[in-house]
């Protein structure tokens, strides 16, 4: 009967493993720390905010991350502090220049198979082909121009810098998709510790009570 549980678990694992076909994604560990997320915000505002929105993140939330209000004011422009972070490009302008509306990014870390790895590999996946045209390994049909300039970077130091920036952006977008993630993990450790104690107590109790039957 134990096999059943094992097999059920295997079934779950198998179904997860099947999630990623096609292009191999680079695996990264996001940095959930506040400085990394803040660097990610700055990089996002510089390289992504021109076109992309964060529908579920408000400017107020950036203040909550520790940016001062004057800094946020620069990004927020004419919007109020409690309005969502909207891309600066109107939809019809985007349609005219790119033929598509740039997706909003606040849930992107959860909305693609591969999540963070996908976003990082996508950002780093630009290359310049033999004909001088820029393409993307991860998403060949992409209409987004190389936002971080990785396709034209040749110096290793420059590439490393761009990689760090991409990682920061992904760390920020991971935070944006689930702002309570770290709080959840913290609660998780407490809950697990507590349950371990309680279950051990119950186990001892159970043995003592059942010992009466012998």
């Amino acid at each position: 009967m134990k096999k059943q549980l094992l097999a059920l678990a295997l079934c779950c694992v198998a179904s997860l493993a099947g999630a990623n076909e096609g292009v191999k994604l680079e695996k990264i560990q996001v940095d959930p720390s506040n400085p990394a997320v803040k660097r990610g915000v700055e990089a996002f505002m510089e390289s992504c905010h021109g076109c992309h929105s964060l529908k579920y993140i408000k400017y107020q939330d950036l203040v909550g991350l520790g940016f001062d209000k004057a800094k946020v004011k620069e990004w927020q422009g004419d919007w109020t502090i409690d309005s969502p972070v909207m891309g600066m490009m109107p939809d019809d302008a985007a349609m005219a220049s790119f033929g598509t509306i740039p997706p909003e990014l606040s849930l992107m870390a959860k909305a693609r198979d591969g999540g963070n790895n996908y976003m990082y590999s996508y950002l780093m996946g630009y290359y310049t082909g033999a004909d001088g045209v820029t393409g993307n390994h991860v998403f060949p049909a992409s209409k987004m121009p190389d936002p971080l300039g990785i396709s034209s970077a040749t110096e290793p130091a420059q590439r490393a810098e761009i990689a760090a920036k991409a990682r920061d952006i992904v760390s920020f977008l991971n935070w944006a998709s689930d702002p309570h993630e770290q709080e959840r993990f913290r609660l998780g450790y407490y809950v697990m510790g507590y349950l371990l104690v309680l279950t051990s107590l119950l186990y001892v109790m159970k043995n003592r009570i059942w010992a009466r039957l012998k």
Binding site: L5, C12, A19, K110, A111, D178, R184, L198, K206
Partner: protein, 413 residues
Amino acid sequence: MSNKIMQWVDRRFPLTSFVKHDLSEYPTPRNLSYWWNFGSLAGIVLVLQVLTGIFLAMHYKADVAQSFNSIQHIMRDVNYGWLLRYMHSTGASAFFLVIFIHMARTLYYGSYRAPRELLWWTGQGLLLLLMGTAFMGYLLPWGQMSFWGATVITNLFRATPFIGDQVVVWLRGDYTVGDETLTRFFALHYLLPFVIIGAVMVHLIALHMVKSSNPSGIDLADKDNIPFHPYFTIKDLYGLGVFLMVYFGFALFFPNLLIEPANNIPANPMQTPNHIVPEWYFLPFYAILRSVPNMVGGVVAMGLSVMLFAFMPFLDRSKIPGGALYRPIYRLQFYLFIIDMMILGYIGYVPPTDQTIVIGQIASVVYFGIFFILPFTSKIEEKWLRNRGLPAQVEALIASEELQIAQKKSGGK
């Protein structure tokens, strides 16, 4: 003082006698293994789902323009909304996991046998209610997977003879899954759990009539039964502690493992995701649906694959109690069935290719085959085992059961 209050109540309502008869002194076989924990666990998961669900409903909005946003509102702004939501979404999977194990135990130990048929059938009804509730709940976040899942499943009703198309429109309240569908699914998703609670009561009344089965398959003498409290209250609590560790492990550390990425994209009726799959607990049945090339045939096969369990008391014609315990052939069939379920689950998950379709069809044939050969294998197996000789207790039990049947027959005449 409290004694007096209890006396006052007991003259008007059988509280003490109820608690004694059905809880504290309820006689329970002492040899129950931990596989017997999953019934009470299912009850607790039900309570968890109802509680988290009620509190989520205080913030959720059933409206195509607002549902997706309201989930984000819950996840981001509502105090501990993220916790309630992840507990609820993880709880759905936990519920099915617990119920599947509960069913597997029943099948392994032959607990569906007489006189426990009604207990098994009320359980079957509960499974259907649970599936309905889970399916309707899955539409509520109004993500891509919600929408297309509901579209595909409501479309199954096109297989209804003569009025298929009308039935589908009636179920949806619209020509496609839309605002009407979402609102009624929410209403029913809130209602059905209370129907489930009622059905659980019936399930428990049936249980307390026939009492728990036990791993030996032989109903124990009174001296081998022990009071439910404290022996099984503590054992169930210990099991609950272990279960909660697994549950919170998923809910707090890996809650997104069980949520399809596409469901983080708002429903778009104009575009189907490349790869749509149901939740893991529907995958084997979904694989059977896909294995039949004809639509009506597929729907019938899928419906049958869920309902066949109800026929177990008739399909299993062996007089030997204890299910797989004394019966090697039945045990083999049981494990084959479990493996087959896993294969079907995997086939249901992966995008169909020529190869997986063939595997799925073979696995589907095996699935039904195991049920259909059971009346014959169980009879042959019984003959073989009785010729070879069974433990004396088992023989005695079979003899006494045969005697009872014979007496009833002669008494009737």
